[in-house]
C-alpha cells in the first residue's frame, strides 16, 4: 500500500568514481541527474538539492544549483539549493528534499551529490580542503588535519580496548570484496588481512587501507510524494521511510566522549522513531566508512554493537553480504571510492539498488529495510536514512 504523504525514490543515477581528470564538476552532476530523471520516467523535478563539500574551494565554484540546473537542461524550471555539511552534505541534501516534499510545498525533488576533488592536486587537498570540515580556528590552524585527528582517535580506541591494530583489518577487506562486482567502483580488487597488516603505517597510526580514497563522482535521486509515483514505472519505488539529520560539537576538544559518535547515535534513534521500526528490523547498513575508525564507531553508535566491541562484527562475518548485517554492499567509501559531499547520495542509490533487487552479484537475499548513514568529519554532523519497499 502506497501512502500518499510518504516520500518515494523513483529515480537513481550515478557516475563512475575515481580520479576522473577529464570530467568536470558540471559534467559529473549533469550525468548523474540526467540518469536519475530518465530512471524516473522523466518526471520533472520542481527543486534540486545539491550536496557538495569542496566546489567553492577546489573548483572555485559556488552557486551550484544554478550551474547544475542549467547544465542539465532545467534552467528556469526549478528551484535549487546547495546543502553543505562537509562529508555529510549528500545525506543532508536528501534530508532537505524529504522535508520539502513532506511540507507540501513541492511534489517532486531531485537530489544531486557531486564532488570534484581532482581540480586540486597535492598536499593542499588534505591541509586546505578537507580541513575546512573541522574547526578552522581551534583545530586546523594548529596544524591538525582531519586524517591526523582521526588517527589519534584510532590509537585511543585501540588503547582503551586493549586491541592490536589488526583488530580493524576486516573492515577494508569487506569493502574491497564487495567492490569487485561494482562496475563503477574506484578499487575493484579484493584484498586480504595480510595486505592490511603489511601496509606501512602512515599518519600517526593509519595505513592506506584505513582511510577511504577521495574520489570524483556524482549520484542523483528523484524523490516524489506517494500520490505522484508514476503508475507504469518500470521498477519498484523505494519508500524513504525516514530521514534524520543532527549536528554535534564541531571541535573534538568540546566533546564529552571522544570515542562515542553522539550525532550518529541520535540520528539513528530519530530515524528509527520516525520510521516506527526497531534496530533489529534493519536488513543492511550502508555505513560511513570514511576511515576504519568511522566504521567501527558508527556500528557502536547505532547500537549494533556495545562500546568497544564494534570491531568484533567485522571479524565474526556478520558484516559480509551473507552475514546478519551486510555493510558497504557495493564497496563502501573505502573501495567504491569516497566522493565526500556526494557519498551520502551514493549510499542511498546503492541501498535502493538492493531494495529493487538490482544489486547483481552483490544482491542481499530478502533485503526489505535498509539504513544509510553519512558522517561529516569526526561525526560532527550525521544524516541517517531508512529505506524500505
Amino acid at each position: 500500500m502506497r501512502r500518499t504523504n510518504d516520500v518515494y525514490i523513483i529515480g537513481l543515477g550515478q557516475t563512475e568514481l575515481g580520479e576522473l581528470w577529464d570530467v568536470s564538476l558540471r559534467q559529473l552532476a549533469a550525468r548523474a541527474l540526467k540518469a536519475a530523471c530518465e530512471d524516473a520516467d522523466n518526471l520533472a523535478p520542481q527543486a534540486i538539492f545539491v550536496g557538495n563539500m569542496l566546489a567553492a574551494n577546489a573548483s572555485r565554484q559556488a552557486n551550484l544549483a544554478a550551474l547544475v540546473a542549467e547544465y542539465s537542461g532545467l534552467a528556469g524550471q526549478v528551484e535549487g539549493f546547495t546543502v553543505e555539511a562537509a562529508e555529510a552534505s549528500g545525506g543532508a541534501a536528501i534530508y532537505m528534499a524529504n522535508n520539502a516534499i513532506r511540507s507540501g510545498m513541492i511534489d517532486v525533488a531531485a537530489v544531486v551529490g557531486v564532488e570534484k576533488v581532482t581540480d586540486v592536486v597535492g598536499a593542499g587537498i588534505e591541509s586546505r580542503l578537507l580541513s575546512t570540515g573541522i574547526d578552522s580556528d581551534y583545530e586546523a590552524s594548529e596544524g591538525l588535519t582531519l586524517t591526523g585527528q582521526t588517527s589519534l582517535l584510532l590509537q585511543r580506541y585501540l588503547y582503551e580496548n586493549h586491541l592490536p591494530r589488526e583488530a580493524l583489518a576486516n573492515f577494508p577487506v569487506i569493502a574491497h570484496a564487495n567492490a569487485v562486482n561494482n562496475p563503477r567502483a574506484m578499487f575493484r580488487r579484493a584484498i586480504d588481512t595480510n595486505a592490511y597488516r603489511n601496509a606501512p603505517v602512515d599518519t600517526g597510526g593509519f595505513n592506506m587501507y584505513d582511510v577511504a580514497p577521495n574520489a570524483d563522482g556524482a549520484a542523483a535521486l528523484v524523490l516524489v510524494r506517494g500520490d505522484k509515483v508514476p503508475k507504469d514505472l518500470a521498477h519498484k519505488a523505494v519508500r524513504l521511510a525516514s530521514s534524520s539529520y543532527i549536528t554535534d560539537r564541531l571541535a573534538l576538544h568540546d566533546r564529552q566522549d571522544l570515542l562515542f559518535f553522539e550525532a550518529a547515535a541520535v540520528s539513528v534513534q530519530q530515524a528509527l522513531l520516525k520510521a516506527s521500526i526497531n534496530l533489529p528490523d534493519i536488513d543492511f547498513f550502508e555505513y560511513s566508512d570514511n576511515t576504519t575508525l568511522h566504521a567501527v564507531l558508527s556500528l557502536e553508535a547505532a547500537g549494533f554493537a556495545s562500546r568497544g566491541e564494534g570491531w568484533k562484527l567485522a571479524t565474526s562475518g556478520a558484516l559480509t553480504l551473507q552475514g546478519e548485517l551486510p555493510v558497504a554492499t557495493m564497496g563502501g567509501h573505502k573501495a567504491r571510492g569516497f566522493p565526500l559531499g556526494a557519498s551520502g547520495v551514493f549510499q542511498v542509490v546503492e541501498a535502493c539498488q538492493q531494495l529493487r533487487g538490482e544489486a547483481g552479484a552483490n544482491q542481499i537475499v530478502h533485503a526489505r529495510i535498509g539504513m544509510t548513514q553519512s558522517l561529516a568529519a569526526t561525526a560532527s554532523a550525521a544524516a541517517t536514512q531508512i529505506l524500505s519497499l
Binding site: 580520479e19 581528470w21 577529464d22 581532482t118 592536486v121 597535492g122 606501512p200
Partner: protein, 362 residues
C-alpha cells in the same frame, strides 16, 4: 622501374618524411661522476623504501648544461667522420639552460669548433626538448639546407628538497649528429610526434623548482602521449613490438618505462639495455636519448630500435631507427655510456646540496 615505397607517401602519412633520407652520423653521451643514492635522500626526509630509482647522477660544482653538452658533443664528433666545421646547426634541448636569456648553443658550438655560419638556438619542451631538436635537425638536413646538424638533450634537473622529484631529478644527456643516410651509423626510418595541451608538470619564470600534478602525471600525461606516439608510428609503418631488437622510452623513474613497454608489447629484454633511470635517475631532456646511446653501444647491424621520448605539457616524439654497418666500426671512438655510468663517486646529501647550489649564504 617503379621505386618501392618504404614509408607511405607524404600526403597520406602522419609520419615526418624528409625529402632527403637522414640518419645519425655520430652520437655521444655524458654522465657526471657523482651519485646520490635514493636511500640517502630517504634518510634525510624520513622515508625508508619504495624509491623510484636506486641512485641518481649529480653534476659537479663546475658543471652545467653547457659543459656537459660540450662533453657529449665531442664524443659525437669522435664517432662521426666529419669535423665540427661541417655542422650547420648546434641545438641544445634542456629545461636547465644556465641562462634565461643567452643561448647555450652558441657556447657549445664555439667550444667544439663549429664555424660562425650555423644555427644555434636552444630548445625547451620539458623532457622532450632534445628529441624535438632531433626532429628539427632532420628537417634541416632532410630539406637540403645543411649537410649536418647537431641535436643535444641535456639537463641538470631541479628537484625541490623533500619533493618526490628529488629522488629522480638527475644530470646527464646525449648528443646526436644528423646527416644524410648514406654516411649514417643508424638510419632514421620513421618519425612521428604527438602533442596536446596537458598541464602535468611546469615551472614558471622566476620559480626555482618545477611543480607537478601528482598522479595526473601518469595516465593522462606520460602514458597517453608515449602510447599515442608509438601506436601511431606502429600503424603508419606496419611495424610491431616484436620487430624491434630494442626499445627506449622517456624514463622519469624505473616503473613508467617498464609499464609502457609492457603495454605496447615489448619484453623486459628489449627494454633493459636502454633503461638507465635506476642507476642515473631521470636526466629529463637527456633521458630517452642517453638510453638510446647505451643501446647503440651494443646494437648490431640491421637491428631495429624504437625510441619514444616524453615531455610534459605534453608530447612525445617517436623514432624508428635501423642500425647500419659503420656503427660497429665507430662506437669505440669515444667512451661508452656504460663507461660513464661505471665512473661513480658516491656523495652524501650535504655534498649534493653544495654541488647543486642549494645552500644559500644570504
Amino acid at each position: 622501374m617503379k621505386q618501392e615505397q618504404i614509408v607511405p607517401k607524404p600526403e597520406k602519412s602522419k609520419l615526418l618524411i624528409p625529402k632527403i633520407k637522414v640518419g645519425i652520423v655520430g652520437y655521444g653521451s655524458y654522465v657526471p661522476r657523482y651519485r646520490l643514492p635514493a636511500k640517502e635522500i630517504g634518510r634525510i626526509w624520513g622515508n625508508e623504501g619504495g624509491f623510484p630509482v636506486r641512485e641518481k647522477a649529480v653534476a659537479g660544482l663546475d658543471e652545467d648544461v653547457i659543459t656537459m653538452s660540450i662533453e657529449a658533443a665531442r664524443n659525437a664528433l669522435k664517432r662521426s667522420d666529419i669535423s665540427a666545421e661541417e655542422l650547420r646547426a648546434v641545438w641544445v634541448g634542456s629545461e636547465s639552460h644556465p641562462y634565461a636569456v643567452k643561448p647555450s648553443g652558441t657556447v657549445v658550438a664555439e667550444a667544439i669548433g663549429a664555424p660562425n655560419d650555423i644555427q644555434a638556438g636552444d630548445w625547451e619542451f620539458a623532457c622532450k626538448a632534445g628529441t624535438e631538436a632531433m626532429v628539427a635537425a632532420m628537417g634541416l638536413v632532410g630539406s637540403g639546407m645543411g649537410n649536418y646538424a647537431m641535436a643535444i638533450g641535456m639537463d641538470t634537473a631541479q628537484g625541490k628538497p623533500g619533493d618526490a622529484l628529488e629522488y629522480t631529478a638527475a644530470s646527464g644527456g646525449a648528443a646526436f649528429i644528423i646527416g644524410s643516410q648514406e654516411s649514417a651509423l643508424v638510419s632514421i626510418e620513421a618519425s612521428y610526434s604527438y602533442v596536446s595541451d596537458t598541464p602535468d608538470f611546469w615551472r614558471r619564470e622566476y620559480q626555482v623548482y618545477p611543480e607537478h600534478g601528482q598522479r595526473f602525471t601518469g595516465e593522462p600525461a606520460y602514458f597517453e602521449h608515449v602510447s599515442g606516439a608509438t601506436q601511431t608510428i606502429f600503424a603508419e609503418t606496419g611495424l610491431k613490438a616484436a620487430d624491434f631488437a630494442f626499445a627506449v622510452f622517456h624514463q622519469p623513474n624505473t616503473k613508467f618505462p617498464q609499464r609502457i613497454g609492457k603495454m605496447l608489447g615489448f619484453t623486459p629484454e628489449q627494454i633493459a639495455p636502454g633503461l638507465l633511470a635506476p642507476v642515473i635517475g631521470n636526466t629529463y631532456s637527456g633521458a630517452a636519448m642517453i638510453g638510446l646511446t647505451a643501446i647503440l653501444d651494443i646494437a648490431r647491424e640491421g637491428d631495429l630500435i624504437l625510441m619514444t621520448s616524453y615531455g610534459s605539457g605534453a608530447g612525445s616524439d617517436s623514432f624508428v631507427l635501423k642500425v647500419r654497418k659503420p656503427l660497429a666500426l665507430r662506437r669505440e671512438n669515444a667512451l661508452s655510456t656504460e663507461d660513464y655510468i661505471n665512473r661513480r663517486t658516491e656523495i652524501d646529501y650535504a655534498t649534493y646540496l653544495r654541488y647543486r647550489g642549494e645552500i644559500r649564504m644570504r
